[in-house]
């Protein structure tokens, strides 16, 4: 672990406040615009909303000043902006479809910020989480497999990734990924030497010993189980990517990635050939515009999303002026297409840039923090957001087959939003440590 040469004397809390004000303007204007186009613009509502957003921002900001004064100043404004733009778009689709997802998402956002504040208050040092390595591992696996429990799991649109708790549907996979990141970080930081150094060298690449392959095989098996039994290609890919990414960061050995990817592709190819659900996803991806595939319905949603994005063009139709409601699940799985339509390529680029900023901040935190557990934790969380965004946006833009993941912070969904705010809390916590240590070095 090399020492970091960054020189940073300011905590950045003041820049954070400035960026937060910028995000506030975007969030409130977006909602006002949506209401205006739906002819429901009430200045009182906008004032209340603006006040509430400002309140949440200040609460988060003050918490950071108190308990994580050196935390990364860019993360929160970026996340707030994404969440606010998402709420505006969801509300916009509500007006078209006569639903009320927007209001629910606002409640989830409040809860999300509250959870983040709670975590920052309770977890004062991320290294304490290492104590719960195996607990987190078990919790993660159980959460992932919970939807398979008869009577508890419910199947929505072919995927069995939901459970029903007191009438509410919860997506435990969203929380499982965080538990697993903690588990992988704790496990890998302990075992990285064995995994990294031992093993035969073939073709210039050092391969791990067969007996060290156990954990990889177990994770692979779990990923396959999720793919086949929960029919959730996205979660399976996400779960496995997080593990491979963290394994690589821990061991610096590309052979692990090569072996892991080959395993996954073999499994994926097998599933694509044998599991009808997976196969139709591949078919829809490769021949989306084909008349037969389209009329069979398998690629209809994808293609409608493409039509929507195309109609947005470079600058978009304007918030509230497109027809995102023509795409099924415009407020959740396809919110990226909805935003692409109304904000155009320009808006989509801006959104992707916000994600890039968040992810790059996570890696910078990983590099900056001194303890191995923290490094792996931050990198793992960065990979989590990055891969999830790639899977969602890549699915909608036809880079990869479409899967049922949600765009972090943007898409409608309580589980997803709460889990991602939790990710932010952990990143802020580690970044506080990282930037504090760099201050110490420079001082």
């Amino acid at each position: 672990m090399a020492t970091v040469s960054e020189v940073s004397v300011r905590s950045g809390r003041r820049s954070e406040l400035t960026l937060m004000a910028l995000a506030w303007v975007i969030i409130v204007l977006a909602l006002a615009l949506v209401d205006y186009h739906a002819a429901y613009l009430e200045l009182v509502d906008i004032a209340i909303y603006g006040g509430a957003v400002a309140g949440l921002m200040l609460a988060a900001h003050i918490t950071l000043r108190r308990v994580a004064p050196s935390a990364d100043p860019v993360l929160l404004p970026a996340v707030f902006a994404l969440n606010g733009v998402g709420i505006a778009e969801i509300r916009r689709i509500d007006y078209a479809e006569d639903t009320s997802f927007g209001t629910q998402q606002m409640i989830w956002a409040v809860l999300g910020v509250a959870i983040m504040i709670g975590v920052l208050l309770v977890v004062r040092d991320h290294r304490k989480l290492r104590r719960y390595t195996y607990t987190a591992g078990v919790v993660g696996l159980v959460l992932y497999l919970l939807p398979l429990v008869p009577g508890l799991g419910i199947t929505v649109n072919g995927a069995r990734i939901w459970i029903s708790i007191a009438g509410n549907s919860v997506q435990p996979g969203e929380f499982a990924k965080i538990a697993l990141v903690i588990f992988f970080a704790g496990y890998l930081v302990t075992n990285r030497d064995t995994l990294a150094l031992a093993g035969p060298k073939v073709l210039g690449m050092r391969f791990p010993r067969i007996r060290d392959m156990g954990p990889l095989l177990i994770v692979w098996l779990a990923a396959m189980l999720i793919m086949v039994y929960e029919r959730d290609l996205g979660a399976s890919l996400l779960f496995f990517s997080i593990f491979l990414g963290m394994l690589y960061v821990a061991t610096e050995r590309f052979s692990w990635v090569a072996i892991g990817m080959s395993l996954f592709f073999v499994g994926g190819a097998f599933a694509a050939l044998t599991v009808p659900h997976v196969r139709s996803r591949f078919e829809a991806w490769l021949n989306a515009l084909d008349a037969n595939v389209y009329s069979s319905g398998t690629s209809e949603q994808l293609v409608r999303g493409l039509f929507g994005m195309a109609s947005g063009g470079l600058f978009g139709t304007g918030l509230g002026e497109g027809r995102p409601d023509l795409v099924p699940y415009a407020e959740s799985d396809f919110i990226i297409a909805s935003l692409g339509e109304e904000l155009g390529l320009t808006g989509l680029m801006a959104i992707l840039t916000l994600y890039i900023i968040i992810v790059q901040r996570a890696f910078r935190t990983s590099i900056g923090v001194r303890d191995g557990f923290g490094k792996l934790l931050a990198a793992g969380l960065g990979v989590t957001i990055a891969v999830q965004v790639f899977i969602v946006v890549g699915g909608v833009t036809r880079v990869i087959p479409l899967t049922g993941l949600t765009a972090p912070f943007l898409a409608y969904g309580g589980s997803s939003l709460l889990a991602n705010w939790l990710v932010v809390a952990l990143l802020l916590r580690v970044s506080d440590q990282a930037r504090r240590s760099s201050e110490a070095v420079s001082a």
Partner: protein, 489 residues
């Protein structure tokens, strides 16, 4: 672990670049293709979902967009849809547009260049694109009178303002209700359209300006007369007018209506020949003048030109290189001579306007959504087919047609009416088409009218232009004169 973390962050960056490339591919490079995909209902919704401007007659919207509670946002709505269908055309999510809905589409949907400032304003205020309103030259009462008079007979009526070229009335029969095609349920629209198509009498055809066009019959004698006047004939110049005219190089003969003699001595003046519509006199005149002379005259009135009013008008036809016999037949508006009712109305209007033909038009003005007038059609000279003195001579001749000739059914008390009848043969077994073209008042015309009733209308083979078409023209002229008296024309 810093180095691999850095590498992973680079890989992640590459993944995001791939996403950005894919988004650019969809939203910019491939945008055209995707937007034009027939499965993309969005383009349709955008076109049909905007507020589309109304079509206005006499200050009242006859076609407008009513907000609707479906995915199209607006429902095209009509008052007296079938009365104005010939001009407005239809606006359908399945079959597209026709009539002014098509030709004025960019103004109506707001995308026209002349609406640039309006759009710019909308951009800043965030308002939806709105269309302009298009005001027609039609007069509702004239339109109504013409439609009532024509009734359920097949045919067309068209009325022009001679001094400007404004189309004051344009009626075609049978017609259809555009509301049948404006619905948002495509299967219903489909069914309605098919049943309109399957109707034998072609309700979707605008007979006034398009369709098969008609042989003009004796109304074409106005062209012969105009050509003769230019060639130095006078109204009292004697013409050869036998009871039967032998056609050169053929065994056929031309006779007069009912086989009657035009005169006792096989000779009559040009004026009298027009008054009683003597076929043999004009057939012989045609051969004497030669076809090129008549052809040039017809062309100066607009024959063979394709004009837009802005509805596109089928060009009226003339025969190519007719021999003498064919020239004789053509001179009385038979053989290969074809005319739209609009073309004949233009002939009447040019004679009425001292020999100057004004370009006919249907759009009076265009108003931006904020009601500011952004365009007014200025009357435009189309051609000058006759000199003032020739036109006045021909007017006097046409007055005798109504006063004391075949067109007496068009007489109006206290008003001098100039007219010409036509009874065009359509074949051995089918009744003739009845024509009447006229203008009034003869000394200071306010309206020029052409009426055609297909296959004799309700009179069948008994029909003549004078009997069945002239009364229709008379009613239209009377209404126009009344409107003019009230200052509404």
């Amino acid at each position: 672990m810093n180095e691999p973390a850095r590498r992973v962050s680079v890989v992640v960056l590459i993944l995001f670049l791939a996403l950005m490339a894919a988004a650019s591919w969809i939203q910019v490079v491939n945008e055209e293709t995707l937007s034009q995909d027939p499965r993309n209902v969005r383009t349709l919704y955008r076109e049909y979902g905007n507020f589309r401007g109304p079509l206005v007659v006499d200050g009242e919207s006859v076609v407008w967009s009513e907000p609707s509670n479906d995915s199209f946002n607006y429902q095209r709505t009509y008052t007296d849809g079938s009365l104005y269908a010939a001009a407005t055309g239809f606006y359908s999510i399945v079959y597209g547009r026709s009539g002014l809905e098509q030709t004025e589409n960019e103004l109506l949907n707001g995308s026209a260049d002349s609406l640039f400032w309006t759009r710019l304003g909308n951009l800043f205020s965030g308002e939806q694109q709105q269309g302009a309103s298009v005001e027609l030259t039609l007069k509702s009462s004239l339109q109504q009178v013409a439609a009532e008079q024509l009734g359920d007979q097949r045919g067309a009526v068209i009325a022009l303002a001679p001094e400007t070229g404004e189309i004051l009335a344009m009626v075609t029969s049978p017609t259809y209700d555009p509301a049948l095609l404006a619905g948002h349920d495509s299967s219903v629209v489909n069914e309605n359209y098919q049943s309109l198509l399957n109707q034998d009498d072609g309700p979707l055809i605008n007979r006034a300006i398009a369709g098969d066009t008609y042989p003009p019959g004796s109304t074409f004698k106005l062209i012969d007369a105009a050509a003769a006047l230019e060639a130095g004939y006078e109204p009292d110049t004697e013409l050869y007018a036998p009871t039967e005219l032998d056609l050169p190089q053929s065994s056929n003969t031309i006779g007069n209506y009912g086989g009657e003699a035009c005169s006792s001595d096989d000779s009559m003046t040009l004026e009298d020949a027009l008054r009683i519509s003597c076929n043999t006199a004009f057939a012989d005149l045609g051969m004497t003048l030669q076809w090129q002379v008549i052809q040039r005259k017809a062309e100066s009135f607009g024959w063979t030109d394709k004009i837009d009013v802005p509805l596109s008008v089928t060009a009226s036809r003339l025969p190519e290189d007719p021999d003498e016999a064919q020239t004789a037949m053509s001179a009385i508006g038979q053989y290969d001579v074809r005319s739209t009712p609009l073309q004949m109305a233009m002939v009447a209007a040019a004679i009425a306007n001292d020999g100057t033909l004004m370009k006919p038009y249907l759009v009076d003005s265009v108003r931006a959504p904020d009601l500011q007038v952004i365009d007014v059609t200025e009357p435009e000279v189309y051609s000058t087919p006759m000199t003032r003195s020739d036109a006045n001579k021909l007017t006097d001749m046409m007055v005798t047609v109504v006063d004391d000739g075949t067109g007496s059914a068009a007489r109006i008390d206290g008003v001098e009416v100039a007219g010409k009848t036509g009874t065009a043969e359509t074949g051995q077994d089918t009744p003739p088409h009845a024509w009447f073209v006229s203008f009034a008042p003869a000394d200071d015309p306010v309206v020029a009218v052409a009426v055609v009733v297909e296959n004799g209308g309700s009179m069948g083979s008994e029909a003549t232009g004078g009997r069945i078409a002239a009364p229709i023209a008379k009613a239209v002229m009377q209404e126009a004169i009344r409107l003019d008296g009230e200052g509404d024309l």
